[in-house]
Amino acid sequence: MTADSPRLRLGIVAVVAVSLFAALFARLWFLQVLTAGEHELAAERNQQRVVPLPAPRGRILDRDGEVLVANRASNVVLIDRAELNTLEDGEAEAVFARLGAIVDQPPSMLEAALADTTLGPFTPVPVAEDVDEEVLVEVRERQSELPGVQARQLAVRAYPHGTLAAHVLGYVGAINAEELDAAGGPDAPAGYRRASRIGKDGIERAFEDDLRGVDGEVVLEVDADNVPIRELSRREPVQGDDVVLSLDLEAQQAAEQSLAEGMVKTQRHRDPESGEPVIFGGSTVVLDVKEGTVAAMASWPTFNPADFIYEITPEQFAALTDPAQGTPFVNRALLGLYAPGSTWKLVTALAGMEAGLIDPLATINDPGVYTIPDCARGCGRQNAGRAAYKDVDLRRAITVSSDTYFYDLGARMWQQRERLGETPMQDMASLLGFGTKTGVGLPVEAAGRLASPAVRAAQYEANPDAFLSGDWFIGDNVNLAIGQGDVAVTPIQLANAYATFATGGTRYQPNLALRVQDQDGTLIREIEPRVGAQVELPAGARDPVLDGLIGATQSADPKGTAYNAFAGFPHEAYPVAGKTGTAQTGGDRRDDALFAAFAPAGDPRYAISVVMERAGFGSTWAAPVARSVLGSLSGLEEPEAVKPAAGGSRA
């Protein structure tokens, strides 16, 4: 057989043909036998789309079942950036153009919405909210022309009372990477997905597990254009449980309105450099001392939780956290730190009684000025306005807010530290709950600051450059005795300390919720009162201190510091025991106005604190706000606009 033999040449053809067929068989074997499993999975994934059905969250109700947070249906158009990124050049622009025509927005707006970096890459970005039903239908019908675009009906939060109790309620937003990790990731039993919404703050976050419910899902069979063919399976979502708060709608409304009226009148500050107006805020907390719960909690300025229904813009968020605009986002009731000023005299008085330094009936002479004993420099102190109160006993000292009486107490405590220990005041403050979080159960709360010789020495040790000295001087004790110097309290701590005195020593960790119940109102879980500490108040202290506090609001002679603010108040029916305070918190030498009280004095039901930053005298500004709130709570006063009290003083 020669090289030219047709047989041989056909043989070559045969070899080629056999090789090619062998290759085909090998590949067929590889695809259909060796790797069939993964292709089967891929085909299954191809044809199935799991569409989550987010569970509507449970509602948040006030103590009487008044709805504070509910749900409503919203038609939303979203864009899945991950899917959009797979499109070819120019196709995304075409999608924007088509979608823009449907939702009646310029395509550039849609693109801008997508630039939002606060969402993860897999979280669909809402580009049009609360659109008409027809828009949803059109987007779905034209799904093949709109890759990456989703049209959904979402259950979103509704706030029938607007901004009411915004700081307490918190808000809901798209889950972020850290939250998803904390929940164990997207496939964990917790059931959070990348697009899940989660309580971000306030009750929404604190009661997330009760409120969220159980998501459902629909498994759809889809064709190559992602158009659903039929439903393969469906699991209905289960709505979350309702949380019944201890808040009372009317008390909350009274607190917010009174505070806002008062705060608006105090806004007169400008930035010293730019000359632009600077907003200072305030807060008021009302505790139910019998129940151990929060009846009202207000922080001004406030924000609108409805702004968080969809994604908040970076500009909006910046405004909410801008100090010049009063950082509306911050719940001052739990996070505001203030020098307590004369409201602290409750602590000093009780500490003095406990130490045996006070005979309630004994008087000291208050000439209006005071010189610190054993003192080298800067030893002069004076009463507010250098007022000379002459002979003052404990009752009178509280009623008129004699600084000298308490300076003297503070000095004597330090002088007798061998016998009393270095920290009788701090110890009493701790018993009343200062220096630690009240544990009210919202996600963030400040512990406040309570300095002592040991704390100061430790601070100096840790950072010698930041402090002049690590020593504690007698002057520090004198300052602390009137709630100045190295002490900072939160409004809720202040209210809780007065509540503890009001109950005769039961210090609660205030609850914000009473119970969790399902949609039929069936009880799921009762939230029991939590007693943080049972404090034994010093023997014989209650009556004189109570008298002094009642005098502050009622006594005409000597004139109580809150007498003017409570002029005309139904004292007989609803006696109020309170204390004004004026203190410098910032370095700007402007006064914060404070007031703390409980009522009715004989059988206390409520304790209240009011703090108004940079407002001026506590007697002028804070006491009228408290009076307005207590007037509403008593049911005895028709609400009228809060106005500053006449004849106020720093005390």
Binding site: D4, F21, R27, L28, L31, H39, E40, T86, A224
Partner: protein, 385 residues
């Protein structure tokens, strides 16, 4: 059986003359072809019934048309078989010129553009693809030229063959239809190899071909979508979106998802949900793969193997070298188309628009393949006469 009576009718003739052509019909070849064509009806129906029904049309519409194409193909095959293949040699030039003429005409506004290729004449509700006719014409004319000389094939003749193939190949490429162009090149190589071209001549030819392809890419003479498909192949279908890699990836998924025994007729989800584009035509094999599994697809490949084997055998047995070379051309055409089509469906060849002979939906391809097989049957049964 030889009895007394005088010969009566065709049956008697057959019985009497052992060399009569009808006695030597290649049944395995015909049987394999008919088996594939029958399967084609099922597969085309499976691939089209859902989308037709969704569009509110008769779900059997494409099945019926394919059945009609098959019937037409069988008639053409019968006609081709009936006339002694040596007669075609005399008409080779005429057939070739007609094919080239039609290829020129299809580029004029008389032709119709489908899928970005000007490849069709619209005749009523049917479409005629002149490139298919050109394949047959080139086979016959190359066989005619190469069988007239001595072996080894002279260089001049090789050049002539190349030129003769090159003209329709360039016209086809202008449509552009790269798949058909490659089939023409495969036919040329097949015929030249069997005709006895020298190895170095073939090597030179292949080198020139490769250079031409490189030059085409370099001077941007390839359409974007073709370039994309070819380079997607190089990227082994890692695409996840709806780019051109999507088609190949979905095809592989469909075939692989079939597993050993398939999902069952009409049960393929990739098929009925439309994940594989062009499924009743170029990607028909994915329906076989998904619904009939390895068992079905391997059987199909074996049937193609039987056809190729019988064509090869016929080339070997042919009475004259014209017959051998016609078979070689048909073999090259079928082998290339089958390998390229199955290869692209399974992701081992680049995606080019080539129908799978006998299985893909489409009249031109069906009739051409039937005619080509008719030629081979013709050569086979006339090997003694």
């Amino acid at each position: 059986m030889q009895t007394t009576a005088a010969p009566r009718g065709l049956g008697a003739v057959l019985r009497r003359d052992p060399t009569a052509p009808w006695r030597h019909l290649d049944w395995p070849l015909l049987g394999a072809a008919l088996a594939i064509a029958t399967l084609s009806l099922l597969m085309v129906f499976s691939a089209t019934r859902t989308s037709l029904a969704e569009a509110g049309e008769d779900p059997y519409a494409q099945l019926k048309r394919q059945a009609a194409f098959l019937a037409l193909g069988l008639v053409v095959m019968a006609v081709v078989v009936a006339i002694d293949y040596r007669t075609y040699r005399d008409f080779a030039a005429m057939g070739y010129l007609t094919a080239v003429g039609l290829l020129v005409l299809v580029l004029t506004p008389l032709g119709t553009e489908v899928n970005a290729a000007q490849s069709w004449f619209q005749l009523g509700s049917f479409q005629l693809q002149p490139a298919e006719l050109a394949k047959l014409a080139v086979i016959v004319v190359l066989a005619a030229i190469c069988s007239s000389g001595r072996s080894p094939l002279a260089r001049q003749r090789l050049v002539v063959c190349t030129a003769i193939t090159g003209l329709p190949a360039v016209l086809v490429l202008l449509q552009p239809d790269m798949g058909s162009m490659l089939v023409l090149v495969a036919i040329l190589l097949g015929v030249l190899v069997v005709a006895g071209a020298r190895a170095r001549h073939l090597a030179a030819l292949v080198t020139i071909g490769v250079l031409a392809v490189v030059a085409m890419f370099h001077f941007d003479q390839v359409d974007d979508y073709q370039r994309e498909r070819l380079t997607d192949f190089a990227r082994s279908g890692k695409e996840t979106g709806r780019g051109s890699g999507f088609q190949g990836e979905q095809a592989e998924t469909a075939i692989g998802a079939g597993g050993l025994f398939g999902k069952g007729l009409y049960e393929g989800t990739q098929t009925k949900l439309g994940f594989v584009p062009e499924q009743q035509t170029d990607f028909i094999f994915t329906v076989v793969g998904e619904e009939l599994g390895f068992a079905g697809s391997a059987t199909l490949v074996v049937l193609y193997g039987v056809i190729i084997w019988r064509v090869w055998r016929t080339a070997l047995l042919a009475k004259d070298s014209f017959g051998t070379l016609v078979c070689a051309g048909v073999l090259a055409m079928l082998l290339f188309q089958v390998f390229e089509n199955l290869g692209m469906s399974m992701g081992i060849m680049p995606i080019t628009g080539l129908p799978l002979p006998l299985l893909s939906y489409g009249g031109s391809s069906m009739v051409t393949t039937c005619a080509a097989l008719g030629l081979v049957l013709n050569v086979h049964m006339r090997r003694f006469s």
